[in-house]
């Protein structure tokens, strides 16, 4: 049976969401397995959101923000990085492969990069298979 992954992407308003828009303007194609949730800053992404998504059935979660040093709010992306690192450990403990969580920096000008990042991430999640695919006890 064919399976399409459910992937949640958090995109910060100033850089990555703009990058996603720019990908569209330039018609850079990527797989439709992702849904974008806009937040003002990647530092707004609560680790609880990520756990919630996995609990609700997401196969992958990608947090995207401004390049380090570019944050519209000075250092929100460093905060995001720290939280994602904590989540890598936590997901590992929970038995959720930590590769299912991604963190990427994409600027508003990087439409191509946005498409590439999504394509790669979707490819990775497809290779990993569904998040409950035989991983259960």
């Amino acid at each position: 049976m064919s399976w399409d992954p459910q992937i949640l992407v958090f995109a910060c308003n100033w850089c990555s969401y703009g990058g996603a828009d720019a990908a569209g303007v330039s018609r850079f194609q990527y797989p439709p397995d992702v849904q974008i949730v806009r937040v003002m800053c990647s530092g707004r992404v609560d680790p609880g959101f990520v756990l919630r998504a996995f609990n609700k059935g997401a196969d992958g979660v990608l947090v995207t923000g401004c390049h380090l040093g570019d944050c519209h709010y000075q250092d929100g992306n460093y905060k995001a990085e720290k939280r994602v690192e904590m989540l890598y450990t936590l997901l590992g403990q929970l038995g959720i492969q930590s590769e299912r969580l991604g963190l990427e920096w994409i600027s508003a000008a990087e439409g191509q990069r946005f498409a590439n990042v999504i394509t790669d991430f979707v490819g990775k999640i497809r290779r990993l298979g569904p998040a409950n695919g035989g991983e259960g006890p």
Binding site: F49, G92, L94, E135
Partner: protein
């Protein structure tokens, strides 16, 4: 289930509004807008309790029940009202982005095989012994709340040392999942039942005869809420106290003046007051000084089940720590969550106490010198 059923089951309908519960309730003391008595009265009048202040702010510390002349199981009532409230769209104020609850739900779903024992030194454990040590949620909490000073794995490690010292190489059940205590107490019955079923299966398959806990919550919920598993359940302080009674435990000297925090689950729920004290008093150099409220009257660490931590919680904690500071420079707790909560407040603005926190098991592991 209806409110009426709950009231019958918990004796709430017997309440004759004497107000003793209110007088003792720690949440009321620091400023709750409603008292246990008022809530029960509203229930007797058939009012909707979904958004009542105490539904989620009650600590379920059971202090009120010490004194109730009508034997109302108020916290049992609260637990059931929480389930009813949920059905009406009510929910608690989850702390830490709802991470703890979400994790419990993830375990309950059974979709993932957890991997929380990376830190474990397997040489301290056995594969087929009859005694097992319950690990619980410490490893996750430590990861998620590192910034808040959570240090619970340390307690499990200390327990392994203590048991080894007493000649026990315990098993660790790799497949144990969350005990479900918090899910049960926040009215998530489905989550609790799913977790319980998994643990029942894991424990029965393991063929152990005794399960030792460092966390009173796991102990309490398995003793009172799980069906009888036909095995012995014990808190680590009971195990050590037995060894002291048998005259087989010896201790190094430790010069320390300490006071002891009775965790509500270990104390009022399980009646274990004396054993931990007995061990402390047996350690040469330890001077145990009781706080103003101790034993059955002991006051709560301020938060329960990772919900509704707030202004009032901080007030309770500061008051409790004031008592502790007046008693001794070191506060010994016997519940990993108490310790996490106290460590958290220690890092906060406005903390002005000169006090050290120490877990009971960790303290014992530092002085116990074996049989």
């Amino acid at each position: 289930m209806t409110l009426q059923d709950s009231m019958q089951r918990t004796n709430a309908q017997m309440c004759y509004s004497c107000g003793k519960c209110t007088a003792h309730c720690p949440v009321v003391r620091v400023g709750a807008s409603e008292s246990p008595r008022e809530m029960v009265e509203r229930a007797q009048l058939g009012r909707d309790l979904t958004n009542d202040d105490l539904v989620w702010n009650c600590l379920t510390c059971k202090l009120c029940q010490n004194y109730c002349p009508e034997d109302v199981d108020f916290i049992g009532f609260i637990r059931e009202v929480r389930g009813l409230s949920r059905d009406n769209g009510g929910k608690p104020e989850y702390t830490h982005g709802e991470m703890m609850q979400t994790m419990a739900r993830i375990f309950a779903s059974g979709k993932f095989k957890q991997n929380k024992l990376e830190w474990l030194d397997r040489s301290k454990t056995s594969h087929d012994g009859e005694v097992a040590l319950w690990i619980g949620c410490g490893p996750y909490v430590d990861t998620a709340l590192k910034d808040h000073g959570s240090d619970q794995v340390n307690i499990s490690n200390a327990a392994l040392d203590v048991l080894n010292m007493l000649g026990i190489k315990p098993r660790v059940l790799d497949e144990e999942v969350c005990c479900g205590h918090d899910a049960l107490w926040i009215g998530e019955d489905e989550t609790f039942e799913a977790l319980m079923d998994k643990n029942l299966e894991v424990i029965s398959r393991s063929e152990i005869t005794k399960l030792v806990f460092t966390c009173p919550e796991g102990y309490e919920v398995m003793k009172h809420e799980y069906p009888d598993m036909g095995i012995e359940l014990a808190h680590i302080s009971e195990v050590v106290a037995d060894a002291v009674d048998d005259g087989v435990a010896t201790f190094d000297k430790m010069e320390k003046k300490v006071t002891y925090q009775d965790p509500c689950r270990l104390g009022r729920f399980l009646g274990i007051y004396d054993q931990p004290r007995k061990v402390l008093e047996h350690i040469p150099g330890i001077e145990l000084v009781e706080m103003e409220h101790s034993g059955k009257r002991s006051r709560c660490c301020g938060v329960s089940a990772w919900i509704n931590c707030n202004q009032n919680s901080k007030r309770m904690q500061m008051e409790r720590l004031e008592e502790a500071e007046n008693a001794a420079p070191t506060l010994v707790t016997n519940c990993p969550k108490c310790l996490t909560h106290f460590n958290c407040v220690k890092n906060e603005d406005g903390f002005d106490k000169e006090i050290e926190f120490m877990d009971w098991t960790v303290l014992v592991s530092k002085t116990l010198r074996g049989v």
